[in-house]
Protein backbone atom coordinates (compact mmCIF):
# COMPACT_ATOMS: atom_id res chain seq x y z
CA UNK A 1 0.00 0.00 0.00
CA UNK A 2 1.39 3.35 -1.03
CA UNK A 3 0.79 5.98 1.63
CA UNK A 4 -1.47 8.89 0.83
CA UNK A 5 0.29 12.19 1.53
CA UNK A 6 0.79 15.66 0.14
CA UNK A 7 3.95 14.36 -1.57
CA UNK A 8 1.99 11.54 -3.20
CA UNK A 9 -0.51 14.07 -4.55
CA UNK A 10 2.31 16.25 -5.90
CA UNK A 11 3.96 13.22 -7.50
CA UNK A 12 0.72 12.06 -9.11
CA UNK A 13 -0.07 15.57 -10.28
CA UNK A 14 3.08 15.37 -12.45
CA UNK A 15 1.73 12.15 -13.91
CA UNK A 16 -1.87 13.20 -14.72
CA UNK A 17 -2.99 11.17 -11.68
CA UNK A 18 -2.60 7.94 -13.64
CA UNK A 19 -0.39 6.24 -11.07
CA UNK A 20 -2.81 5.77 -8.16
CA UNK A 21 -3.11 2.12 -7.22
CA UNK A 22 -6.40 0.42 -6.37
CA UNK A 23 -7.33 1.04 -2.75
CA UNK A 24 -8.02 -2.64 -2.08
CA UNK A 25 -7.58 -5.93 -3.92
CA UNK A 26 -10.38 -8.09 -5.32
CA UNK A 27 -9.12 -11.64 -4.62
CA UNK A 28 -10.78 -14.99 -5.16
CA UNK A 29 -11.46 -16.83 -1.90
CA UNK A 30 -8.89 -19.28 -0.52
CA UNK A 31 -9.97 -22.70 0.83
CA UNK A 32 -9.45 -21.83 4.46
CA UNK A 33 -8.89 -18.83 6.72
CA UNK A 34 -8.14 -18.42 10.42
CA UNK A 35 -11.06 -16.02 10.67
CA UNK A 36 -14.00 -15.29 8.41
CA UNK A 37 -15.97 -12.12 8.99
CA UNK A 38 -19.35 -12.06 7.27
CA UNK A 39 -20.34 -8.55 6.28
CA UNK A 40 -18.04 -5.89 4.81
CA UNK A 41 -19.77 -2.91 6.32
CA UNK A 42 -18.09 -0.57 8.77
CA UNK A 43 -18.43 -2.90 11.75
CA UNK A 44 -17.21 -5.99 9.86
CA UNK A 45 -14.23 -4.21 8.33
CA UNK A 46 -13.34 -2.58 11.66
CA UNK A 47 -13.49 -6.03 13.30
CA UNK A 48 -11.06 -7.39 10.72
CA UNK A 49 -8.81 -4.33 10.99
CA UNK A 50 -8.44 -4.57 14.79
CA UNK A 51 -8.00 -8.36 14.57
CA UNK A 52 -4.91 -7.63 12.48
CA UNK A 53 -3.73 -4.51 14.24
CA UNK A 54 -4.35 -5.40 17.89
CA UNK A 55 -4.15 -9.20 17.84
CA UNK A 56 -1.89 -10.05 14.89
CA UNK A 57 -4.51 -12.22 13.17
CA UNK A 58 -4.14 -11.44 9.48
CA UNK A 59 -5.27 -14.61 7.70
CA UNK A 60 -8.76 -13.17 7.49
CA UNK A 61 -11.50 -13.08 4.86
CA UNK A 62 -14.32 -10.56 4.87
CA UNK A 63 -17.25 -11.88 2.85
CA UNK A 64 -19.87 -9.47 1.55
CA UNK A 65 -23.13 -10.28 -0.22
CA UNK A 66 -23.35 -6.94 -2.03
CA UNK A 67 -20.66 -4.32 -2.27
CA UNK A 68 -18.40 -3.00 0.44
CA UNK A 69 -20.11 -0.45 2.67
CA UNK A 70 -23.33 -0.65 0.66
CA UNK A 71 -25.65 -1.46 3.54
CA UNK A 72 -26.33 0.71 6.55
CA UNK A 73 -22.76 2.08 6.50
CA UNK A 74 -23.65 3.92 3.31
CA UNK A 75 -27.18 4.80 4.39
CA UNK A 76 -26.91 6.49 7.77
CA UNK A 77 -26.87 10.18 8.68
CA UNK A 78 -23.19 10.01 9.81
CA UNK A 79 -23.77 11.29 13.34
CA UNK A 80 -21.09 10.50 15.92
CA UNK A 81 -21.72 10.99 19.64
CA UNK A 82 -21.25 9.18 22.95
CA UNK A 83 -23.73 10.89 25.29
CA UNK A 84 -25.42 7.70 26.45
CA UNK A 85 -26.97 7.08 29.84
CA UNK A 86 -25.89 3.58 30.76
CA UNK A 87 -22.24 2.88 31.67
CA UNK A 88 -21.64 -0.01 29.21
CA UNK A 89 -23.06 2.11 26.36
CA UNK A 90 -21.06 5.23 27.04
CA UNK A 91 -17.92 3.10 27.47
CA UNK A 92 -18.13 1.56 24.01
CA UNK A 93 -19.53 4.63 22.23
CA UNK A 94 -16.88 6.87 23.80
CA UNK A 95 -14.16 4.37 22.85
CA UNK A 96 -15.51 4.67 19.31
CA UNK A 97 -15.49 8.47 19.48
CA UNK A 98 -11.90 8.47 20.76
CA UNK A 99 -10.85 6.18 17.91
CA UNK A 100 -12.70 8.38 15.40
CA UNK A 101 -10.67 11.36 16.62
CA UNK A 102 -7.48 9.78 15.27
CA UNK A 103 -8.93 7.47 12.65
CA UNK A 104 -7.79 9.43 9.59
CA UNK A 105 -4.17 9.31 10.82
CA UNK A 106 -4.49 5.70 11.94
CA UNK A 107 -5.87 4.49 8.60
CA UNK A 108 -3.96 7.00 6.43
CA UNK A 109 -7.36 7.72 4.90
CA UNK A 110 -9.37 10.89 5.38
CA UNK A 111 -12.61 9.89 7.08
CA UNK A 112 -13.48 13.59 7.38
CA UNK A 113 -14.32 13.32 11.08
CA UNK A 114 -15.82 16.66 12.00
CA UNK A 115 -16.28 17.21 15.76
CA UNK A 116 -18.59 20.13 15.16
CA UNK A 117 -20.67 19.60 18.29
CA UNK A 118 -24.01 17.93 18.75
CA UNK A 119 -27.20 19.14 20.39
CA UNK A 120 -30.11 17.05 21.57
CA UNK A 121 -33.00 19.43 22.06
CA UNK A 122 -35.15 19.24 25.18
CA UNK A 123 -38.67 20.16 24.15
CA UNK A 124 -40.68 18.77 27.04
CA UNK A 125 -40.11 18.93 30.79
CA UNK A 126 -39.70 15.18 30.79
CA UNK A 127 -36.87 15.56 28.31
CA UNK A 128 -35.25 18.31 30.40
CA UNK A 129 -35.11 15.94 33.38
CA UNK A 130 -33.93 13.09 31.19
CA UNK A 131 -31.04 15.08 29.74
CA UNK A 132 -30.01 16.50 33.11
CA UNK A 133 -29.79 12.92 34.31
CA UNK A 134 -27.72 12.01 31.25
CA UNK A 135 -25.34 14.93 31.86
CA UNK A 136 -24.83 13.76 35.45
CA UNK A 137 -24.30 10.18 34.31
CA UNK A 138 -21.83 11.36 31.66
CA UNK A 139 -19.86 13.32 34.31
CA UNK A 140 -19.45 10.12 36.32
CA UNK A 141 -18.46 8.23 33.17
CA UNK A 142 -15.87 10.82 32.19
CA UNK A 143 -17.74 11.78 29.02
CA UNK A 144 -17.82 15.53 28.56
CA UNK A 145 -21.36 16.82 27.98
CA UNK A 146 -23.25 19.81 29.29
CA UNK A 147 -26.81 21.01 29.61
CA UNK A 148 -27.26 24.37 27.90
CA UNK A 149 -29.92 27.07 27.96
CA UNK A 150 -32.25 28.04 25.08
CA UNK A 151 -30.22 31.23 24.60
CA UNK A 152 -27.05 29.19 24.12
CA UNK A 153 -28.93 26.90 21.71
CA UNK A 154 -29.92 29.94 19.65
CA UNK A 155 -26.32 31.16 19.70
CA UNK A 156 -25.07 27.81 18.38
CA UNK A 157 -27.93 27.34 15.91
CA UNK A 158 -29.08 30.74 14.64
CA UNK A 159 -31.61 29.18 12.23
CA UNK A 160 -33.55 27.51 15.04
CA UNK A 161 -36.96 28.65 16.19
CA UNK A 162 -36.90 28.52 19.97
CA UNK A 163 -40.48 29.56 20.60
CA UNK A 164 -42.47 26.57 19.51
CA UNK A 165 -45.44 27.08 19.38
CA UNK A 166 -46.08 23.43 20.05
CA UNK A 167 -42.70 22.33 21.39
CA UNK A 168 -40.63 25.33 22.50
CA UNK A 169 -36.95 24.62 23.11
CA UNK A 170 -36.31 24.44 26.84
CA UNK A 171 -32.63 23.58 26.66
CA UNK A 172 -30.34 21.01 25.14
CA UNK A 173 -27.86 18.28 25.91
CA UNK A 174 -24.65 19.46 24.25
CA UNK A 175 -21.70 17.27 23.39
CA UNK A 176 -19.00 19.52 21.87
CA UNK A 177 -16.89 16.48 20.88
CA UNK A 178 -19.72 14.93 18.86
CA UNK A 179 -20.16 15.54 15.17
CA UNK A 180 -20.16 13.75 11.85
CA UNK A 181 -17.85 11.71 9.66
CA UNK A 182 -17.78 10.63 6.04
CA UNK A 183 -19.58 7.28 6.24
CA UNK A 184 -18.29 5.77 2.99
CA UNK A 185 -14.75 6.82 3.79
CA UNK A 186 -14.88 4.94 7.09
CA UNK A 187 -15.68 1.70 5.24
CA UNK A 188 -13.19 2.48 2.46
CA UNK A 189 -10.42 3.42 4.87
CA UNK A 190 -10.81 0.24 6.90
CA UNK A 191 -11.06 -1.83 3.69
CA UNK A 192 -7.84 -0.33 2.33
CA UNK A 193 -6.02 -0.97 5.61
CA UNK A 194 -7.34 -4.56 5.81
CA UNK A 195 -6.32 -5.25 2.23
CA UNK A 196 -2.85 -3.83 2.95
CA UNK A 197 -2.50 -6.32 5.83
CA UNK A 198 -3.14 -9.15 3.36
CA UNK A 199 -6.75 -9.78 4.26
CA UNK A 200 -9.15 -10.86 1.50
CA UNK A 201 -12.25 -8.74 0.96
CA UNK A 202 -14.58 -10.92 -1.10
CA UNK A 203 -17.52 -8.95 -2.47
CA UNK A 204 -20.60 -10.15 -4.38
CA UNK A 205 -20.47 -13.43 -2.45
CA UNK A 206 -23.46 -14.49 -0.41
CA UNK A 207 -23.21 -16.81 2.59
CA UNK A 208 -25.91 -19.45 2.17
CA UNK A 209 -25.20 -21.80 5.09
CA UNK A 210 -22.99 -22.18 8.15
CA UNK A 211 -21.23 -25.56 8.42
CA UNK A 212 -20.47 -26.95 11.86
CA UNK A 213 -19.22 -30.19 13.41
CA UNK A 214 -19.81 -31.22 17.01
CA UNK A 215 -21.16 -27.80 17.92
CA UNK A 216 -18.14 -25.95 16.53
CA UNK A 217 -18.14 -23.88 13.36
CA UNK A 218 -16.10 -25.23 10.42
CA UNK A 219 -16.83 -22.71 7.72
CA UNK A 220 -19.47 -21.20 5.50
CA UNK A 221 -21.15 -22.27 2.27
CA UNK A 222 -21.19 -19.36 -0.14
CA UNK A 223 -22.21 -18.61 -3.70
CA UNK A 224 -18.50 -19.20 -4.51
CA UNK A 225 -18.36 -22.57 -2.72
CA UNK A 226 -17.34 -23.70 0.73
CA UNK A 227 -14.81 -21.61 2.67
CA UNK A 228 -13.38 -23.08 5.85
CA UNK A 229 -12.45 -21.16 8.99
CA UNK A 230 -11.39 -21.62 12.60
CA UNK A 231 -13.50 -18.71 13.84
CA UNK A 232 -16.53 -17.04 12.34
CA UNK A 233 -17.66 -13.49 13.06
CA UNK A 234 -21.07 -12.43 11.79
CA UNK A 235 -21.53 -8.67 11.46
CA UNK A 236 -24.47 -8.25 9.11
CA UNK A 237 -26.91 -5.83 10.82
CA UNK A 238 -30.35 -6.27 9.24
CA UNK A 239 -29.82 -9.89 8.18
CA UNK A 240 -28.43 -11.07 11.54
CA UNK A 241 -31.59 -13.09 12.15
CA UNK A 242 -31.14 -15.00 8.89
CA UNK A 243 -27.48 -15.75 9.63
CA UNK A 244 -28.37 -16.85 13.17
CA UNK A 245 -30.93 -19.24 11.71
CA UNK A 246 -28.19 -20.71 9.50
CA UNK A 247 -26.03 -21.10 12.62
CA UNK A 248 -28.89 -22.86 14.37
CA UNK A 249 -30.28 -20.42 16.92
CA UNK A 250 -32.61 -17.44 17.18
CA UNK A 251 -31.53 -13.92 18.10
CA UNK A 252 -33.70 -11.48 20.04
CA UNK A 253 -33.74 -9.18 17.03
CA UNK A 254 -36.33 -7.79 14.66
CA UNK A 255 -35.53 -6.03 11.40
CA UNK A 256 -37.30 -2.79 10.54
CA UNK A 257 -36.73 0.00 8.01
CA UNK A 258 -35.22 3.34 9.04
CA UNK A 259 -35.28 6.26 6.64
CA UNK A 260 -33.17 9.28 5.87
CA UNK A 261 -33.24 11.99 3.26
CA UNK A 262 -31.15 14.90 2.01
CA UNK A 263 -32.11 18.27 0.63
CA UNK A 264 -30.69 20.19 -2.28
CA UNK A 265 -27.35 21.81 -1.38
CA UNK A 266 -27.53 25.26 0.17
CA UNK A 267 -24.95 27.67 1.58
CA UNK A 268 -23.56 26.91 5.06
CA UNK A 269 -26.27 27.63 7.61
CA UNK A 270 -25.79 25.20 10.49
CA UNK A 271 -22.40 24.04 11.78
CA UNK A 272 -23.62 21.66 14.49
CA UNK A 273 -25.73 18.49 14.54
CA UNK A 274 -29.21 18.98 15.96
CA UNK A 275 -31.37 16.12 17.16
CA UNK A 276 -34.98 16.70 18.19
CA UNK A 277 -36.20 13.48 19.70
CA UNK A 278 -39.63 14.60 20.86
CA UNK A 279 -40.72 15.75 17.42
CA UNK A 280 -38.70 13.00 15.85
CA UNK A 281 -36.15 14.39 13.47
CA UNK A 282 -32.48 15.22 13.30
CA UNK A 283 -30.48 17.33 10.94
CA UNK A 284 -26.95 18.30 10.03
CA UNK A 285 -25.39 19.97 7.02
CA UNK A 286 -23.00 18.00 4.87
CA UNK A 287 -19.82 19.47 3.43
CA UNK A 288 -21.62 19.64 0.08
CA UNK A 289 -24.28 21.84 1.67
CA UNK A 290 -27.10 19.30 1.72
CA UNK A 291 -29.22 19.18 4.85
CA UNK A 292 -28.98 15.55 5.99
CA UNK A 293 -32.17 14.50 7.74
CA UNK A 294 -33.01 11.37 9.68
CA UNK A 295 -36.41 10.24 10.82
CA UNK A 296 -38.14 7.38 12.55
CA UNK A 297 -38.41 3.66 12.04
CA UNK A 298 -41.43 1.77 10.80
CA UNK A 299 -43.28 -0.29 13.34
CA UNK A 300 -43.26 -3.53 11.39
CA UNK A 301 -40.75 -6.08 10.15
CA UNK A 302 -39.40 -5.11 6.77
CA UNK A 303 -36.44 -6.13 4.59
CA UNK A 304 -37.13 -3.90 1.58
CA UNK A 305 -34.74 -0.99 2.33
CA UNK A 306 -37.57 1.45 1.78
CA UNK A 307 -39.80 2.84 4.46
CA UNK A 308 -43.27 4.27 4.77
CA UNK A 309 -43.98 7.61 3.16
CA UNK A 310 -45.80 9.10 6.12
CA UNK A 311 -42.59 9.03 8.21
CA UNK A 312 -41.00 11.48 5.79
CA UNK A 313 -43.95 13.79 6.19
CA UNK A 314 -43.86 13.54 9.99
CA UNK A 315 -40.12 14.18 10.13
CA UNK A 316 -40.22 17.16 7.79
CA UNK A 317 -43.28 18.64 9.48
CA UNK A 318 -41.41 18.57 12.79
CA UNK A 319 -38.23 20.02 11.34
CA UNK A 320 -40.02 22.81 9.48
CA UNK A 321 -41.48 23.93 12.80
CA UNK A 322 -38.05 23.79 14.45
CA UNK A 323 -36.17 25.32 11.48
CA UNK A 324 -38.67 27.55 9.61
CA UNK A 325 -36.09 28.53 6.94
CA UNK A 326 -36.04 25.00 5.48
CA UNK A 327 -39.72 25.15 4.51
CA UNK A 328 -38.92 25.92 0.85
CA UNK A 329 -36.11 23.39 0.52
CA UNK A 330 -36.50 20.66 -2.06
CA UNK A 331 -35.56 17.16 -0.98
CA UNK A 332 -33.16 15.46 -3.35
CA UNK A 333 -33.02 11.86 -2.24
CA UNK A 334 -34.74 9.57 0.24
CA UNK A 335 -33.73 6.04 1.15
CA UNK A 336 -34.11 3.35 3.78
CA UNK A 337 -31.91 0.86 5.55
CA UNK A 338 -32.75 -2.32 7.41
CA UNK A 339 -31.84 -1.94 11.06
CA UNK A 340 -31.63 -4.76 13.60
CA UNK A 341 -33.53 -3.83 16.75
CA UNK A 342 -33.06 -5.58 20.08
CA UNK A 343 -35.49 -5.42 22.97
CA UNK A 344 -33.41 -2.93 25.00
CA UNK A 345 -32.10 -1.01 21.95
CA UNK A 346 -28.51 -1.95 22.82
CA UNK A 347 -26.23 -4.05 20.65
CA UNK A 348 -25.14 -7.66 20.95
CA UNK A 349 -21.40 -8.46 20.85
CA UNK A 350 -21.39 -12.01 21.98
CA UNK A 351 -20.41 -15.63 21.89
CA UNK A 352 -23.24 -17.81 20.61
CA UNK A 353 -24.57 -21.33 21.17
CA UNK A 354 -22.32 -22.40 18.26
CA UNK A 355 -18.67 -22.80 19.23
CA UNK A 356 -16.16 -20.32 17.72
CA UNK A 357 -19.02 -18.39 16.16
CA UNK A 358 -19.46 -14.78 17.28
CA UNK A 359 -22.15 -12.24 16.51
CA UNK A 360 -21.95 -8.46 16.47
CA UNK A 361 -25.40 -7.03 15.75
CA UNK A 362 -28.36 -5.21 17.18
CA UNK A 363 -26.94 -1.71 16.65
CA UNK A 364 -30.40 -0.71 15.54
CA UNK A 365 -30.72 2.88 14.44
CA UNK A 366 -27.35 4.06 15.78
CA UNK A 367 -24.53 1.89 14.52
CA UNK A 368 -22.36 4.26 12.50
CA UNK A 369 -21.08 6.20 15.51
CA UNK A 370 -19.96 2.96 17.12
CA UNK A 371 -17.98 1.45 14.24
CA UNK A 372 -14.41 1.74 15.61
CA UNK A 373 -15.37 0.78 19.17
CA UNK A 374 -17.55 -2.07 17.98
CA UNK A 375 -14.77 -3.45 15.79
CA UNK A 376 -12.28 -3.07 18.65
CA UNK A 377 -14.51 -4.99 21.08
CA UNK A 378 -15.50 -7.65 18.53
CA UNK A 379 -11.86 -8.25 17.53
CA UNK A 380 -10.95 -8.72 21.20
CA UNK A 381 -13.84 -11.16 21.65
CA UNK A 382 -12.89 -13.16 18.55
CA UNK A 383 -9.16 -13.21 19.25
CA UNK A 384 -9.43 -14.27 22.89
CA UNK A 385 -12.68 -16.23 22.69
CA UNK A 386 -13.95 -14.29 25.69
CA UNK A 387 -15.36 -10.76 25.77
CA UNK A 388 -13.15 -7.95 27.03
CA UNK A 389 -14.39 -5.12 29.26
CA UNK A 390 -16.07 -3.29 26.37
CA UNK A 391 -18.15 -6.24 25.19
CA UNK A 392 -18.89 -8.23 28.31
CA UNK A 393 -22.19 -6.51 29.13
CA UNK A 394 -23.46 -6.94 25.56
CA UNK A 395 -24.01 -10.70 25.70
CA UNK A 396 -26.93 -12.16 23.75
CA UNK A 397 -27.98 -13.96 26.95
CA UNK A 398 -28.76 -10.75 28.83
CA UNK A 399 -32.38 -10.96 27.65
CA UNK A 400 -32.79 -14.26 29.47
CA UNK A 401 -30.97 -13.01 32.55
CA UNK A 402 -32.82 -9.69 32.62
CA UNK A 403 -29.54 -7.71 32.57
CA UNK A 404 -30.75 -5.16 30.06
CA UNK A 405 -28.77 -2.12 28.99
CA UNK A 406 -31.85 -0.05 28.61
CA UNK A 407 -31.21 2.71 26.10
CA UNK A 408 -34.70 2.66 24.64
CA UNK A 409 -35.79 4.86 27.52
CA UNK A 410 -32.46 6.67 27.81
CA UNK A 411 -31.99 7.60 24.18
CA UNK A 412 -35.58 7.76 22.99
CA UNK A 413 -36.22 7.03 19.36
CA UNK A 414 -33.40 8.81 17.62
CA UNK A 415 -30.85 6.38 18.87
Amino acid sequence: MKRYSVFAIAKQAMNYHLGWERAWAAPEPKKHYDVIVVGAGGHGLATAYYLGKNHGIKNVAIIEKGWLGGGNTGRNTTIIRSNYLQDPSSAIYDKALQLYENLSQDLNYNVMFSPRGLLMLAQTHHEVRGYLRTVHANMLQGVQTEYISPAKVKELVPIINNDGPRYPILGALYQPRGGTGRHDAVAWGYARACSAMGMDIIQQTEVTAVRSEGGVVKGVETSKGFIGCNKLGVVVAGHSGQLAEMAGFRLPIEAVALQALVSEPIKPCMDVVVMANTVHGYMSQSDKGEMVIGGGTDGFNNFTQRGSFHHIEETLRALVETFPMISRLKMLRQWGGIVDMTGDRSPIISKTPLGNCFFNCGWGTGGFKAIPGSGWAMAELMAKGEPGPLAEEFSMWRFKEGKFIDESVAAGVAH
Partner: protein
Protein backbone atom coordinates in the same frame (compact mmCIF):
# COMPACT_ATOMS: atom_id res chain seq x y z
CA UNK B 1 -48.01 2.53 1.53
CA UNK B 2 -49.18 -0.52 3.40
CA UNK B 3 -52.93 -1.15 3.08
CA UNK B 4 -54.66 -3.78 5.21
CA UNK B 5 -58.36 -4.67 5.14
CA UNK B 6 -59.81 -4.77 8.63
CA UNK B 7 -61.61 -8.12 8.95
CA UNK B 8 -64.13 -6.61 11.38
CA UNK B 9 -65.34 -3.39 9.79
CA UNK B 10 -64.23 -4.17 6.23
CA UNK B 11 -62.40 -0.87 5.81
CA UNK B 12 -59.26 -0.91 3.65
CA UNK B 13 -57.07 1.00 6.04
CA UNK B 14 -53.69 2.49 5.14
CA UNK B 15 -50.96 2.32 7.72
CA UNK B 16 -51.38 5.72 9.35
CA UNK B 17 -54.79 4.43 10.46
CA UNK B 18 -53.24 1.31 11.97
CA UNK B 19 -50.99 0.48 14.90
CA UNK B 20 -48.51 -2.34 14.47
CA UNK B 21 -48.37 -5.08 17.10
CA UNK B 22 -45.57 -7.35 15.82
CA UNK B 23 -45.63 -11.16 15.88
CA UNK B 24 -49.00 -12.94 15.94
CA UNK B 25 -49.92 -16.20 17.67
CA UNK B 26 -47.42 -15.68 20.49
CA UNK B 27 -47.49 -18.25 23.24
CA UNK B 28 -47.73 -16.26 26.45
CA UNK B 29 -46.06 -17.27 29.70
CA UNK B 30 -47.07 -16.26 33.19
CA UNK B 31 -45.66 -16.46 36.73
CA UNK B 32 -43.60 -19.57 37.42
CA UNK B 33 -42.27 -19.87 33.87
CA UNK B 34 -38.57 -20.35 33.19
CA UNK B 35 -36.23 -17.55 32.02
CA UNK B 36 -35.98 -19.33 28.65
CA UNK B 37 -39.76 -19.21 28.22
CA UNK B 38 -39.93 -15.55 29.17
CA UNK B 39 -37.09 -14.73 26.79
CA UNK B 40 -38.79 -16.61 23.96
CA UNK B 41 -42.08 -14.87 24.63
CA UNK B 42 -40.80 -11.35 25.18
CA UNK B 43 -37.69 -10.98 23.05
CA UNK B 44 -36.86 -13.87 20.70
CA UNK B 45 -39.49 -12.96 18.16
CA UNK B 46 -39.78 -14.48 14.71
CA UNK B 47 -38.02 -12.27 12.18
CA UNK B 48 -38.46 -14.03 8.82
CA UNK B 49 -37.43 -12.58 5.48
CA UNK B 50 -40.60 -13.64 3.74
CA UNK B 51 -43.99 -14.76 5.03
CA UNK B 52 -44.80 -13.26 8.43
CA UNK B 53 -47.93 -13.24 10.59
CA UNK B 54 -48.52 -10.08 12.60
CA UNK B 55 -50.91 -8.35 14.94
CA UNK B 56 -52.33 -5.01 13.89
CA UNK B 57 -54.88 -2.71 15.50
CA UNK B 58 -57.33 -0.64 13.52
CA UNK B 59 -56.46 2.20 15.89
CA UNK B 60 -58.09 5.12 14.07
CA UNK B 61 -61.05 3.03 12.90
CA UNK B 62 -63.06 0.43 14.72
CA UNK B 63 -60.29 -0.02 17.32
CA UNK B 64 -60.16 -3.81 17.00
CA UNK B 65 -57.05 -5.99 16.97
CA UNK B 66 -56.71 -8.27 13.96
CA UNK B 67 -54.05 -10.44 12.34
CA UNK B 68 -52.37 -10.13 8.97
CA UNK B 69 -50.19 -12.29 6.74
CA UNK B 70 -47.54 -10.28 4.93
CA UNK B 71 -44.26 -10.77 3.09
CA UNK B 72 -41.47 -8.83 4.77
CA UNK B 73 -39.25 -9.10 1.67
CA UNK B 74 -41.75 -7.54 -0.79
CA UNK B 75 -44.41 -5.92 1.46
CA UNK B 76 -47.07 -8.03 -0.33
CA UNK B 77 -50.15 -8.57 1.83
CA UNK B 78 -51.66 -12.05 1.61
CA UNK B 79 -54.70 -11.39 3.75
CA UNK B 80 -56.10 -10.48 7.16
CA UNK B 81 -58.14 -12.50 9.63
CA UNK B 82 -59.75 -12.08 13.05
CA UNK B 83 -57.63 -11.96 16.18
CA UNK B 84 -59.61 -14.83 17.70
CA UNK B 85 -57.53 -17.38 15.75
CA UNK B 86 -54.91 -19.65 17.24
CA UNK B 87 -53.34 -20.30 13.82
CA UNK B 88 -53.66 -18.79 10.34
CA UNK B 89 -56.80 -20.02 8.52
CA UNK B 90 -56.27 -22.99 6.18
CA UNK B 91 -57.47 -21.13 3.07
CA UNK B 92 -55.06 -18.28 3.75
CA UNK B 93 -52.19 -20.74 4.22
CA UNK B 94 -53.12 -22.40 0.91
CA UNK B 95 -53.18 -18.99 -0.81
CA UNK B 96 -49.70 -18.17 0.56
CA UNK B 97 -48.39 -21.61 -0.46
CA UNK B 98 -49.67 -21.02 -4.01
CA UNK B 99 -47.83 -17.67 -4.18
CA UNK B 100 -44.71 -18.82 -2.32
CA UNK B 101 -44.08 -22.49 -3.25
CA UNK B 102 -40.88 -22.55 -1.17
CA UNK B 103 -42.66 -21.39 1.98
CA UNK B 104 -42.19 -23.99 4.71
CA UNK B 105 -45.66 -23.46 6.11
CA UNK B 106 -46.84 -22.00 9.41
CA UNK B 107 -44.75 -23.19 12.38
Amino acid sequence: MLILECPYCGVKAEETELSPGYEAHLKRYGPGSTPEEFEAYMFARKNPKGVHFERWRHAYGCGKWFLAARCTATLEVFGTYPAQSSAPPADLQAKIKAKRPNWEGYK
